[in-house]
């Protein structure tokens, strides 16, 4: 009996040893290339996609920026558009852009067997270069009603014929479809010349052809690999980096593309491999402290410890994020039909206290809706007396005036704040609940719903928490795209004067003039006809290991081709 048990034990031990051996073997494989590991702006879940037309989230776009550069390239620190895959000339009337695309940039694919980035060849054995036609396909695909992309609606209004194509019948006949495609203002004049016709003469056009959704697309690969063209065994790209590996749910590794010639704007990368790790904030910090991550985000719970630690506080950097946190008010409610009430509620919010005590990530109190680093964004300090600010006494006086006029008691008034479930939103809502109760004497209730339910309920809510994150970094994407009356009806905001100002601002060519117009529009939105209470501007915070020279993006997406190891 004993020997039997012993034998059994031995065999279990042997099995374990084999398991162990296989695992450690699998793990021990790996080269000696120094890899930059980053968790920045990746989150704990898998990347939804690498398809430029279908991407709609920061993590996907962060990676796509390196694989599929667009015609124009956003400078990540200065928020200006520079030549990316092309240089361009604009016609007299400002509507037609003619692009000269960089010649002979090859499509590439990382070959897992050879361990090399290789050029993609066509059926005749010639290298495939990125052509104007590939970019045309990119535009067409994003707008294609058959694909149904989330960002079609962002692109369509800027491209001549864009809205017509996007809203056409997906089942349309081939002839009808071809007619719509022919009417689209994106045309390949020859292999390396592309003509883009906009619907409006505006500086914002540059932002549009710098968006990831306008990148070149390998049509032959779509035919061949279908939905799976973005998987690492299939994907073909042309930017400074190529896809080396994508372990779903764990990480994506980019490898420098030796065929990328390097330009002044998009240099050849010096860091050979960048690995994006999909980790939650706390695990990121732990991996960073263990030396396994080069760039980490910062959990709010660790911020005091980081400030107190000399090495970590050195490594910390705070930059603008892409969103503005605000509270929207239901202007159809009798209470909020009077803009004074919304203004009073907004003034009663102590924004500094919220960013100092609740959110604690270096957020910036907001008196305007538009994020300050954006192109044409007005800075509140330049326009004294506009926007909104915290003023508890002013709020009390204003609300008292309203109550007296309408003969109401504050204690009879109850408002409910709706937010999507999150500890952060809950804490902010509780802080605001207390501020409103103390300053205005009203009853405040809080309702939390998960995101899908929250979106459905938002239109009916008294007050709802919201955030707007821009698609392209121009004030137009805040002011026109969100609050122009032709947009989201959930906003309950309809002001002809505001509409006129933001319509004027988008086509104004002078930058200062645009800022002036947006400042006036801001003042209507948050003050004279107050509909929202801007609360704070989001920030991103990260930690970088010593020995890395880097740029600091204010558009959330980093340009890793510009980073380098210094030791």
């Amino acid at each position: 009996m004993r020997s039997n048990a012993l034998r059994r034990l031995m065999s279990v031990a042997l099995a374990l040893a084999i398991m162990l051996g296989t695992f450690s073997f699998a793990f021990a494989q790996g080269g000696d290339v120094r890899v930059l590991r980053t968790g920045r702006q990746m989150g704990p879940s898998d990347l939804p996609t690498l398809d430029p037309s279908q991407a709609q989230d920061v993590p996907s776009v962060q990676v796509i920026d390196h694989l599929f550069p667009t015609l124009g390239r956003l400078h990540e620190e200065q928020v200006i558009v520079e030549p990316g895959m092309a240089t361009w000339e604009v016609s007299e009337d400002g509507l037609v852009y003619t692009f000269s695309i960089l010649p002979e940039i090859p499509w590439v694919h990382y070959n897992m067997d050879s361990g090399q980035v290789e050029q993609v060849m066509d059926e005749n054995g010639n290298p495939r270069y990125v052509t104007a036609a590939d970019f045309v396909l990119g535009y067409q695909r994003t707008l294609d009603p058959r694909l149904g992309t989330e960002y079609a609606g962002v692109l369509a209004p800027w491209v001549a014929g864009g809205v017509e194509f996007m809203t056409s019948d997906p089942e349309a006949s081939d002839e009808e479809r071809q007619a719509l495609l022919d009417g689209l203002g994106v045309v390949a004049l020859d292999d390396y010349t592309l003509q883009f016709t906009s619907t409006r003469a505006t500086p914002v056009n540059e932002m549009i052809f710098s968006m990831w959704i306008t990148a070149a697309i390998p049509g032959w690969l779509l035919d061949e690999a279908g939905d799976f063209w973005i998987e690492p065994e299939n994907i073909q790209t042309y930017g400074p980096y190529a896809v080396k590996d994508w372990v779903h749910d764990e990480s994506l590794t980019m490898i420098a593309n030796p065929f990328w010639p390097g330009t002044d704007v998009i240099p050849q990368p010096t860091i050979q491999e960048v690995q994006f790790m999909f980790l939650d904030l706390d695990p990121q910090l732990a991996a960073f402290e263990a030396g396994e991550l080069d760039v980490s985000e910062v959990p709010a719970s660790a911020i005091d410890r980081i400030h107190a630690d000399p090495a970590l506080s050195q490594a910390l950097h705070t930059a603008y994020g892409t969103c503005t946190y605000y509270y929207g008010f239901n202007r159809t409610l009798p209470l909020f039909q009077d803009a004074r009430v919304v203004r009073a509620f907004s003034m009663a919010i102590d924004r500094q206290a919220i960013v100092d005590n609740v959110t604690r990530r270096g957020e910036i109190p907001a008196g305007y809706f538009t994020l300050p680093p954006l192109n044409a964004a007005p800075q509140q300090a330049d326009y004294p007396g506009t926007g909104i600010g915290t003023d508890i006494d002013g709020a009390k006086a204003l609300f008292a005036e309203y109550l007296a006029e309408t003969g109401q008691n504050a204690s009879d008034i109850t408002v409910t704040i709706l937010h999507n479930t999150s500890n952060l939103h809950a804490s902010v809502a509780q802080a605001i609940q207390q501020m409103w109760t103390e300053a205005l004497g009203v009853n405040v209730q809080i309702a939390a719903q998960d995101f899908g339910t929250y979106l459905d309920l938002r239109r009916e809510a008294d007050v709802y928490r919201a955030a707007w994150c821009y698609d392209y970094p121009d004030a137009n994407n805040f002011m026109y795209d969100v609050f122009h009356s032709s947009n989201d009806p959930d906003n309950h905001f309809n002001n002809p004067e505001y509409d006129a100002l933001v319509e004027q601002a988008v086509v104004a060519t002078d930058l200062q003039e645009r800022r002036d117009l947006y400042a006036q529009a801001e003042n209507i939105l948050v003050n004279t006809d107050a509909s929202i209470a801007p609360i704070y501007f989001y920030t991103t915070q990260d930690l970088t290991q010593p020995g890395i020279e880097r740029t600091y993006s204010v558009i959330t997406r980093e340009r890793y081709e510009k980073w380098r190891f210094t030791n």
Partner: protein
């Protein structure tokens, strides 16, 4: 026994059908949808997306389609369009007719555009299962001996230590134990990698974090059960026969005392190998567990259905195995 297993398999199909129906109804009763976002989609685009995934049909038809894609085998061309809509779990080439037999298409993920439920489970279940088996080993290796020691040395110092530790274990959830382990062994001592997946060194901490609480539960159960069995008449008989105490406990008592333990291990095993949302987030593990949660917030309907059915299937199978093991443990149990 054979007839019993067949009968249980048939029952399983019925249970899975009820689970799928119930999940489908509850999931679709919740407001919001897979394509709702802060940016409202143009109506045509939304209609197109809904048509692509059959979401434009009446709910009953959607359900019938869904079940049909899983249950009804298809004989198709050998080469299908490369689409997430065409991913079958079972593909068998039939040479005679030069066509392919395909079965069990659990649908695409709405959130990850190049992924399907089948591919997600294929990628993540092995990870979760490896970790789950590790956690179960931890639970068994610590829990059962601790329970035995406590029972045999009832009301002694060893009993108090074992039960004290198990109270602590039951009380500390993974969300606390995980970060503590990660900080101590990953960040401070640097003995183990704090996050990631790939080697045996990545399994140790999360397996311990997950297994420790379960080991505590098993220890308490083993102790209680063994104490009860030790008072049974047949144990007294065995002792009276003059059997060595080692044989009395090891052979006669322990085998019978394991019945309730095995009963818990079955479902526990199913839950452990389908992953843990918390442990996966804390240790950055690419497992299946987080899909149980994120698929719901994303309204990723096929993933919600797929993960729920998988868990249901595993729980049923684990219970079936438990029932079979009963027969071996306790000869008095008969099914036929």
């Amino acid at each position: 026994m054979g007839a019993f297993i067949v009968r249980r398999m048939l029952q399983m199909l019925l249970v899975l059908f009820v689970i799928s129906l119930f999940t489908f109804v509850v999931m679709r009763a919740v407001p919001g949808g897979p394509f709702s976002s802060e940016k409202s989609l143009p109506p045509r685009t939304l209609a197109q997306l809904e048509a692509k995934y059959n979401l434009d049909e009446p709910l009953v038809m959607q359900y019938i389609h869904y079940i049909g894609d899983i249950a009804i085998p298809h004989i198709t061309e050998n080469r299908l369009e490369n689409s997430v809509l065409n991913d079958y779990l079972i593909n068998i080439y039939i040479p005679v007719v030069d066509r392919t037999f395909r079965w069990m298409n659990f649908g695409p993920s709405y959130k990850s555009v190049s992924q399907t439920v089948n591919s997600i489970i294929k990628d993540t279940l092995p990870v979760s299962a490896t970790l789950g088996i590790g956690a179960l080993l931890v639970a068994l290796v610590i829990g059962v001996p601790a329970g035995i020691i406590a029972a045999l040395n009832r009301n002694s110092r060893w009993d108090y230590i074992a039960m004290g530790v198990s109270i602590v274990g039951v009380s500390i959830p993974v969300i606390v134990l995980g970060p503590v382990l990660r900080y101590v062994f990953g960040v401070q001592l640097k003995w183990l990698p704090p996050t990631g997946w790939g080697g045996i060194e990545h399994i140790i901490m999360p397996a311990f974090a997950l297994g420790f609480a379960e080991s505590a539960r098993l220890a308490r159960l083993t102790r209680a059960s063994l104490l009860q069995v030790l008072n049974e008449d047949y144990i007294r008989t065995a002792r009276a026969k003059g059997l060595a105490e080692r044989v009395v406990v090891g052979l006669h008592a322990l085998k019978n005392a394991m019945l309730p333990v095995v009963t818990t291990i079955g479902p526990l095993f199913a839950f452990l190998i389908t992953g843990s949302f918390v442990a996966e987030l804390v240790f950055g593990i690419p497992g299946l567990g987080k899909f149980f949660v994120t698929s719901i917030t994303n309204r990723d309907y096929p993933v919600i259905m797929g993960t729920t059915l998988l868990l249901g299937f595993l729980v049923i199978v684990a219970n079936l195995i438990v029932d079979v093991v009963y027969v071996w443990l306790d000869p008095r149990i008969k099914y036929d």
